[in-house]
Amino acid sequence: MNGYQGLMVFAEQRGGKIHPVSYELLGKGREIADKLTVGLSSVLLGNQMEEEAEELVYYGADKAFLYDDPALEEFNLLNYKHNIVKLIEEVKPEIFLLGATHLGRSLGPRIAVALSTGLTADCIGLDVDEQNNLVQIRPAFSGNILAYIKTSTRPQMSTIRYKVMQKRERDPGRRGEIIRKNVELVDPLLTLINKETLGGVNIAEADVIVSGGRGLKRPEDFGILQGLADLFGGVVGSSRPLVDDGWIGKEHQVGFSGNTVKPRLYIACGISGSPQHLAGMRGADTIVAINTDPSAPIFRVADYGIVGDLYEIVPELTSKLKGRYSK
């Protein structure tokens, strides 16, 4: 369509490190590019990022466009947008993908409007149809339905959720082209005056999450869940009411208005399973529910359920698993 060809992936970096979702997008992008027999490029903005640009090639890109400037070290919305829009107008990719991170979901819409094109948010699947149009699959209505969306304009743009696509194995023998681009700085409006990195848990990255809900009686009882999580280097999660009541920090909140998680194992303790909570955790590989109420909705999404009191079950389960798995 109108000379648009190939795919381009936005490579997100924070603190000089490429976000793993970008490698996942290169993995999926490579698969689609091979299917369409077109090229896959990536665009990276940052400061002294030459080596990271090479990594984009190792993970599947044919070309990496690099905008390297001290002013691009931290995310600046308007500078990022300006340079990317100019690049898209020059290269004309038919598909442009970003991670559905906070940064991607702030930047993507600006690029889409600047190019007057459609943008599909927070996709969990991508495919191409018989006419080589991109099919974008996204959950809607708290994950109750999956919508298949096509875009009539070019480029077809999507943000893609972290941890749903597979990255390729890193291949340092892979050759590609690093193209240094001239950086244009246009933003006198937004000034970053401070950046603070909060320590603590990164629940979106955790392999094991043990979450508590209304079934907990006291804030300090999260310690019981922590004991189980610690066996596997896991973290503690929470449903929203306990976060709202100040029992535990927002960074632990799983659900629609908190964090979307995709651990290998999710153990829900005393959580009934409101739609807003289920929206945040139904992507877990294995779900275990522990609840006194056998009619709790959480049991309907669980692989394994125990009808019982978490105050008895969790300590017993911890001690049984400790015997077998503790390393």
Partner: protein, 268 residues
């Protein structure tokens, strides 16, 4: 004095709304419409700023005629003026067309200093309309704002991005999208509700925007993204084994199930 605009959306109550699991459609009659919960935080933030600086808060919504009740609701929660963009020509809009229509209405209002949006809606869940409005208007935006530090000639806001907290300073005009952390929205008093019941909600049609907008960008025809099909995911693949009995029995069964299923094999 500050002129603030708050775009809002009427959404179904997600805890109560029913889905037709055959067709994947939403039965909007099954739950009453309400203001998107994130928009309540946006409205509260706007009202708090106006209380300090003086000025006006105008809410704008694009929606069907019944969305008037949600716009009226904003008048009981501190908005000075409420506008509903209502026209069949607006129907079927994706985020590009929605943001264009809202941005056009904001242009038509004339001067503005600050636009405050909720970070996303509970039904669409795109979070795109706020940043897209900013791009149409050619103004900067900061998304995921959890705190407003300084207001006045310049604004300083805290933006949370996955564990990093950025303090960002901007001149006006500016658009921000706010998270639920920013405040606790106040509840309207009975007197507020009574007053709002009598207040006028202005209704603007496509015609009303004709001096500032290209009507081919409205609604379905201005929407490049199209829903191709909908499927209802089953919780397929979930084993759904529920164990009952003594604590000793049930925990033993879970441990066995973990072993058989290799659940813990690839964990560290």
């Amino acid at each position: 004095m500050i002129t603030i605009v708050v775009p809002i959306k009427q959404v179904p109550d997600m805890e109560r709304v029913k889905f037709n699991t055959e067709t994947g459609t939403v039965d909007r009659t099954s739950a009453p419409g309400e203001i998107n919960p994130f928009d309540l935080n946006a409205l509260e933030a706007a009202v708090q700023i106006r209380e300090k600086l003086g000025g006006t808060v105008t809410t704008i919504s694009m929606g069907p005629p019944q969305a008037e009740s949600s716009v009226r609701d904003t008048l009981s929660r501190g908005a000075d003026r409420g506008i509903l963009l209502v026209d069949r020509a607006f129907a079927g809009a994706d985020t590009l067309a929605t943001s264009y229509t809202l941005a056009s209405a904001i242009r038509k209002l004339g001067e503005f200093d600050l636009i405050v949006c909720g970070e996303k809606t509970v039904d669409g869940d795109t979070g795109q309309v706020g940043p897209e409005i900013a791009e149409w208007l050619g103004i900067p935006h900061v998304a995921y704002v959890s705190e407003i530090k300084e207001i006045g000639e310049k604004f300083t806001v805290i933006c949370d991005m996955e564990g990093d907290r950025y303090s960002i300073e901007s001149r006006l005009p500016l658009l921000i999208t706010v998270t639920k952390d920013i405040n606790v929205p106040r509840l309207p008093t009975f007197a507020d509700k009574l007053k709002a019941r009598k207040a006028e909600v202005e209704k603007w049609t496509a015609e009303a925007l004709s001096s500032v907008a290209d009507p081919s960008r409205f609604g379905l025809k201005g929407s490049p993204t199209r829903l191709h099909k909908v499927i209802v995911p089953s919780e397929a693949g979930r084993k759904g084994e529920v164990f009952r009995g003594s604590t000793a029995e049930t925990t033993a069964k879970i441990v066995d199930a973990f072993e058989e299923g290799g659940v813990l094999e690839n964990i560290r």
